[in-house]
């Protein structure tokens, strides 16, 4: 058994104690699950031990995020492990302790004014509103992508005690706004390319979650079709249902192949932008087909709050919009593939992943 398999098994073992539930303003995340994951060191995977993490590779972090996504786990692990922590480390900022939830804010309008020379990690004054903040009100720390007169800035904000407006995605996951009025925080100047990579990593994190969730949705649907009887035989014996399940399988398998390849591109330290764009677009497009057919095969029961299916389909409907919509990333991908000129599409395609 590889390290990755071991990590996944650990996550699944923990998950057996934490069933997904309907998120509300009062109970917007699974604090108990987070504690269990943190205790097991899983919220520091991929972060070097010298930085306070648990060590391990990107592949381990991706596997954890996938297993949690398939389990509809209401914890900010994707944001912390795949986006915020690597970005904070890369920017040379001090990473908070892994047991304190760290999320990411890239939307809205936040400006940063340097309080010192503004060169390298330093101190900044943040003003503005960060919107669509994943796990706003839940995360203790926020890596905020802000703009400054000298370029993009990644600032690390301790949000304890700060008010956030309550807003949620279709699955109830917190996506509120945070108003910053002259807040002093540590931060570091990024190049435009680094900022773009940060956004790409965020998109890729959502693609990883989508891929895992869609695989789980397919597995549940196949299982249901094998069990549910209609007209005296299992649904899965009807050719019409078989065609639908095969179509779902085609989507899910294609997404997995591309998302895995995009992750490997990041592991090879290549620029993640086009790979992440492609993964996000492909995974988002699959939601349209997979969620629709999953509900269609499940029938009315899958449309109820008691049934598990909505925990994943609602997340998928939102994740495809978050960290940049498919359409936005499709434009990035289309334009990026033509960067070497209108005749150079094919060489660009064979380089993306």
């Amino acid at each position: 058994m590889s390290d990755v398999d071991l990590v996944v098994e650990t996550v699944r073992d923990i998950l057996t104690g934490y069933e997904p539930f309907v998120l509300t303003a009062e109970r917007p995340w699974d604090a108990g699950l987070w504690s269990a994951l943190a205790e097991a060191g899983l919220t520091g995977v991929g972060v070097p031990e010298e930085a306070g993490g648990s060590g391990g590779e990107l592949a381990d972090a991706v596997a954890i995020v996938g297993a949690l996504a398939a389990g509809a786990a209401a914890v900010p692990v994707a944001e912390q492990l795949l986006v915020a922590a690597p970005a904070v480390l890369a920017a040379g900022l001090d990473l908070p302790a892994p047991e304190e939830p760290l999320s990411i804010a890239v939307d809205g309008a936040v400006t940063a004014e340097p309080r010192d020379d503004g060169d390298g990690p330093g101190s900044w004054t943040l003003t503005g509103t960060a919107t669509d903040v994943a796990w706003a009100g839940v995360a203790r720390h926020l890596a905020v992508l802000a703009s400054s007169p000298v370029g993009p800035v990644l600032a690390l904000v301790d949000v304890a005690g700060r008010d956030t407006t309550h807003a949620a995605n279709l699955a109830g996951e917190p996506r509120g706004s945070l108003v910053l009025q002259g807040v002093t925080s540590a931060g570091a100047l990024l190049t435009d390319a680094q900022a773009e990579r940060l956004r790409a990593r965020y998109a890729l994190a959502r693609a990883v979650q989508l891929s895992a969730a869609l695989q789980q949705v397919l597995a549940w649907t196949v299982q249901y079709a094998g069990e549910r009887q209609q007209f005296g035989r299992p649904l899965g014996r009807f050719q019409a249902i078989q065609m639908e399940l095969a179509e779902m399988a085609g989507e899910v398998t294609a997404v997995a192949a591309l998302v895995d390849a995009a992750v490997q591109a990041v592991e090879r330290d290549e620029s993640p932008v086009l790979a992440a764009a492609a993964a996000k677009v492909r995974a988002g497009a699959a939601v349209e087909v997979v969620a629709r057919l999953a509900h269609q095969v499940h029938g009315a029961i899958g449309f109820t709050q008691e049934h598990r299916l909505h925990h994943l389909t609602r997340r998928c409907w939102s994740w495809r919009d978050e960290a940049g919509t498919e359409t936005a990333w499709a434009r990035v991908l289309g334009a990026g593939l033509l960067a070497d000129g209108p005749d150079a599409l094919w060489p660009a395609l064979t380089r993306v992943v």
């Binding site: 029938g299 919509t325 359409t327």
Partner: protein
């Protein structure tokens, strides 16, 4: 291609329909201005507002096609069509009375006793009496012949009902359920025999209504449990043993209305407010062309109903194509706008996308799954 069971004569033009359409439009504008309702997606399932339903009753816009003696207004199906589509396009709260007006009332007209009609139909037409459909059961989805809820005659000639029905829309705000029950033991040789419809007063002792929340947490559906419920013998609807035939006709009747392609119209309207670049205008054009075609199909069926036909196969086709369209609208809009779907969105388009998406699984399931409907269409093509 010669004429087949799928083709219908073009819908007649109706000046009367355009007249009532203008009245409804004026009414809705006033109600919206007064804040008596706000526009939402899929309000014929989720917009329960008895006060609003009573207002429609007062204006004569319920039971429109029924005989005057039962509180109806003896207007054409084309006029009724205009009223219903205006209400849906506005996203008005019509769920309370929807089933009663569309389906249960006509069912009573066809199969009810004189007493049943006289008692109930005027109250439906007044917007005061609401119905649910008691067909599906936990283990019987599309396969209605497998239902298990049983009714047996007791010594007084009354029916004693035991079992449970699910997906009864708004049973918690309704008065009656037309309930499909097994009145003779199942006959493997004829799966469709031995079923009957009962007119069940939901306030009777022994009836429990349990909420079934849908995935966005909304409470529209219920489980209705029958524990030794005694139903008066004269509450049989139609013939004993003819239940299968009756529900088949009823389903055909309910499948062709504008609610089968306008459930997400409020999303289209919101998108139109935003459409400006060429790709958005083209998307609006594509969506509109599909909607216009569905509308003509649906109007043709309304015309056929006015001629006394029962176009069950075209109705199945409209529901298949129309409900697919309702969900496709979301995807078409998403392709050309960058607005994330969220119920908390500061952007009305984001909220409409969210409502449409969260209700989407229902469109192609309720009233017969699209796979079942395509089977009916295939039969209409002569393939089965």
């Amino acid at each position: 291609m010669g004429s087949n069971s799928l083709t219908l004569a073009p819908a007649p033009r109706s000046a009367a329909a355009e007249e009532v359409r203008a009245e409804v439009r004026e009414f809705l504008a006033a109600e919206l201005a007064a804040g008596s309702f706000t526009t939402h997606v899929d309000t014929w399932l989720s917009g329960v507002d008895p006060a609003f339903s009573r207002k429609l009753g007062e204006r004569g816009w319920l039971g429109m096609t029924w005989p005057r003696q039962y509180g109806g207004h003896e207007r054409t199906a084309m006029e009724r069509y205009a009223v219903t589509e205006e209400l849906l396009a506005a996203g008005a709260p019509v769920a309370a009375h929807w089933i009663a007006d569309r389906q249960s009332g006509p069912n009573l007209l066809r199969y009810g006793t004189e007493a049943q009609r006289a008692e109930i139909l005027p109250r439906i037409a007044a917007g005061e009496c609401y119905f649910v459909i008691g067909m599906s059961e936990p283990d019987s989805g599309s396969d209605l012949a497998s239902i298990r809820t049983r009714a047996t005659r007791n010594g007084d000639g009354d029916w004693v009902v035991n079992g449970a029905k699910v997906w009864t829309s708004n049973a918690h705000t309704s008065h009656y359920a037309i309930t499909l029950v097994r009145t003779s033991p199942a006959d493997p040789a004829n799966r469709h025999a031995g079923l009957s419809q009962l007119l069940v007063d939901l306030s009777l002792p022994g009836i429990t209504v349990n909420p079934i929340r849908i995935l966005d947490g909304g409470h529209h559906f219920n489980e209705v449990v029958f524990g030794d419920v005694v139903i008066p013998g004269d509450m049989l609807l139609g013939e004993e043993g003819a239940g299968w035939h009756q529900v088949t006709a009823e389903l055909a009747f309910e499948r062709s209305g504008p609610e089968r392609f306008l459930s997400t119209y409020p999303l289209i309207a919101e998108f139109a407010r935003r459409a400006s670049d060429p790709a958005q205008l083209a998307a609006l054009g594509r969506i509109s062309a599909r909607l216009l075609a569905l509308r003509q199909l649906s109007l043709r069926i309304a015309g056929a109903l006015d001629r006394g036909e029962l176009p069950d196969i075209p109705a199945a086709l409209v529901k298949d194509v129309g409900t697919t369209f309702e969900a496709d609208v979301i995807d078409e809009v998403r392709r050309v706008v960058d607005v994330p779907a969220s119920l908390d969105s500061p952007d009305a388009l984001g909220r409409a996308l969210a409502e449409a998406q969260l209700h989407a699984p229902g469109y192609t399931l309720r009233g017969g799954t699209n796979e079942i409907l395509r089977g009916i269409v295939a039969r209409g093509l002569g393939l089965r």
